[in-house]
């Protein structure tokens, strides 16, 4: 199977993730979509690592996973803090700051 298909899937996942970030309102879902985007990058990295035969892409993917975990931790922490303040969990209703 050609490696191109892995790239196609990765691009698709990236687009789904990016679309979700733009469209969805629940911050939890937005965080999930961010994970999708990062994992699309991981898939692409692994594919390229396979293509070029080096280990750099795999190391890169591992580091991306670590970073993704950090981001999600901070994001969930913020969500907990927000929910304790009884603020609406909806990115559109967070209108204290008007964009």
């Amino acid at each position: 199977m050609a490696l191109d298909w892995y790239l196609a899937v990765s691009a698709l996942i990236f687009c789904i993730g990016a679309g979700g970030v733009l469209v969805r309102r629940n911050p939890l879902v937005v965080l999930l979509c961010l994970e999708l985007m990062l994992n699309a990058a991981n898939l692409a990295l692994i594919t390229f690592a396979r293509m070029h035969g080096g280990e750099a892409g795999q190391i890169f993917a591992l580091i991306v996973m670590v970073v993704a975990a950090c981001e999600v931790t901070v994001g969930l922490g913020l969500l907990v803090a927000i929910s304790r303040r009884n603020l609406p969990i909806d990115v559109d209703k967070l209108h204290e700051l008007n964009g």
Partner: protein, 545 residues
């Protein structure tokens, strides 16, 4: 890591030593910050409130001073590539490090009596700031796609938390979440772009990527859709970080919501680091493809200049105004990058230094305004000239410098940028820059008018008495778990009448405002030292005209 031939032979040559050689001297600017962050975090656990409130910020300052010391020590040494080709400690990196470190010193001083470190905990607040600074140091010296990403995240993640440090205030939490989401979108886009560049070249080291691109004959960038997409995504990712339009929408919101000390840190240090890595990535790694990416970045810079300046026109909140102004200034800095010459790199770094000096003084005044009047509205500036002449002058100088009035460093910065643009054949971009500067007068001068030209009646003081910093809003919040004890103490203390000395400004604010205001003028009249300083940055990037 990639198998860099030089690193491999180096490892073979030193095979008798167990473990790799660690270049402590070159690593020291980064290592000092890491150690400092851990120490600060531990000391922050002390039970004595005095220790937490005084010793922790002091230790933070010591750590940053240590970093500054090592950076000055390493300055103008021959560039060293360390950690198996992952980092390159050269003068560009060290200048950006120094700028970030100075911004961090100012941010610590601005946060000295602020709510944010008390609420978030002194140890956590300051150690996060040090980690973020360390991330900047890694980012600006990154010489590898992986280190680039790692540095960017090490910079960003602590900042997400710091933005939400005043977590009893709705605006701060929102700013944190908003910054997290937008910042992560930027990171994800960037990492995807980096992945594609890796895919197209098979390399992660900047030098290796540059080598592959330079050796590609024929099609070049446009002939390779993978590389083209990768570079476009990388531009987008960086643009989010450096708040370049049209990816800037988060900037005013986050600047307004975040604690002001953190806003000052983000506005200056993050931007400096982002611009430095922009420079290294485009003017070194992709320099062979200059003709292909330069028009795109030139268009981006023009849009940024116009959008930022127009957006700032209608703002009444000073922090939002500085947010939009920062967007416009990022556009100015990008123009130097577009040219892709040594002159352009030097001009950009000069403007980064100028931007640092111009903004920190202004932010010190905003912190003061928030403490005495509870808001950063422009109208509350009325009578500042009478209440606190030093702060009023600092803000005036900062605004005039940002507008590019002669006698200030902002003027020299713009002269140098226009010089590099005309010299590099981008005369039209110089005109865009100039048009942006004209528009910017419309809002910078409104701030100056608010300070000096509204009647200094009792209004300013009345506002000051009505909503002091620890007033009703804090006390009204229900106590929630996880807060630091000081925050509760502060909340119960309530807002009493402010003393007279409060109106003239806290000493550390006066220090920051005075020093940076004075530097704006001094380097505006005698720019020679700064020129010599930033000329090293242009020389650090090999392969430039």
């Amino acid at each position: 890591m990639n198998a860099h031939p030089y690193a491999m032979s180096f490892l073979l040559a030193t095979a008798h030593i167990h473990g790799p050689h660690i270049s402590w001297a070159e690593l020291s600017p980064i290592a000092v910050l890491g150690v400092g962050a851990l120490v600060v975090l531990l000391v922050g656990l002390a039970s004595s409130q005095m220790v937490r409130a005084r010793l922790v910020p002091t230790l933070t300052l010591v750590a940053i001073a240590g970093a500054i010391g090592t950076e000055i020590w390493r300055f103008s040494h021959a560039p060293q590539t360390i950690v198996a080709g992952a980092l390159r400690i050269d003068d560009l990196a060290l200048i950006a490090d120094l700028v970030c470190a100075v911004a961090a010193v100012a941010a610590v001083l601005l946060a000295w009596r602020a709510r944010a470190p008390r609420e978030a905990g002194q140890g956590e607040f300051h150690s996060l700031m040090l980690f973020s600074l360390m991330g900047m140091a890694v980012l600006v010296s990154a010489q590898d796609l992986i280190t680039l990403f790692l540095g960017l995240e090490l910079l960003s993640i602590p900042l997400y938390v710091l933005c939400a440090a005043e977590y009893r205030r709705e605006g701060s939490l929102e700013a944190g979440l908003k910054y997290l989401i937008i910042g992560s979108v930027g990171s994800a886009t960037l990492v995807y772009g980096l992945a594609l560049i890796y895919g197209a070249t098979g390399q992660t080291g900047f030098g290796a990527v540059a080598h592959v691109l330079a050796s590609q004959s024929g099609g070049g960038l446009l002939g390779d859709p993978l590389l083209l997409t990768g570079i476009a995504l990388v531009i987008v990712g960086f643009a989010f970080k450096a708040s370049v339009a049209p990816f800037h929408q988060w900037t005013p919101d986050v600047y307004e919501g975040a604690p002001t000390a953190i806003t000052a840190f983000m506005a200056t240090a993050t931007k400096a680091a982002a611009i430095a890595v922009f420079l290294r990535f485009f003017d070194f790694t992709l320099t062979a493809e200059h003709v292909n990416w330069a028009p795109a970045l030139a268009a981006l810079a023009s849009v940024t200049i116009i959008v930022g300046n127009v957006g700032a026109l209608g703002q009444s909140s000073l922090k939002r105004l500085l947010g939009y102004s920062g967007v416009a200034q990022a556009g100015y800095m990008l123009t130097g990058l577009v040219v892709g010459t040594r002159l352009g790199v030097s001009a950009t770094m000069f403007y980064v230094v100028a931007y640092l000096l111009m903004n920190l003084g202004a932010f010190a005044v905003i912190v003061h305004q928030e403490r005495v009047s509870g808001s950063d509205r422009m109208a509350a500036l009325s009578g500042l000239g009478r209440r606190s002449p030093l702060l009023a002058w600092s803000l005036t100088i900062a605004m005039l410098a940002l507008a590019g009035i002669p006698g200030t460093i902002g003027f020299i910065g713009k002269v140098q940028l226009i010089h590099s643009l005309v010299n590099g054949g981008y005369g039209w971009l110089a005109i865009v820059l100039v048009v942006g500067a004209m528009i910017s007068l419309g809002y910078y001068l409104r701030v100056v008018a608010a300070i000096w030209m509204t009647p200094a009646d009792a209004r300013g003081v009345a506002v000051a008495g009505a909503g002091p910093l620890a007033g009703a809003p804090v006390a009204a919040f229900p106590p929630i778990a996880g807060g630091s004890p000081e925050a509760d103490l502060q909340a119960s203390a309530g807002g009493g009448a402010l003393g007279v000395e409060r109106l003239t400004g806290d000493p550390e604010l006066l220090l920051v405002a005075g020093v940076f205001g004075a530097l704006c003028i001094v380097f505006g009249v005698i720019p020679g030292p700064v020129f010599e300083f930033v000329a090293h940055a242009g020389a650090a990037l090999v392969g430039l005209r």
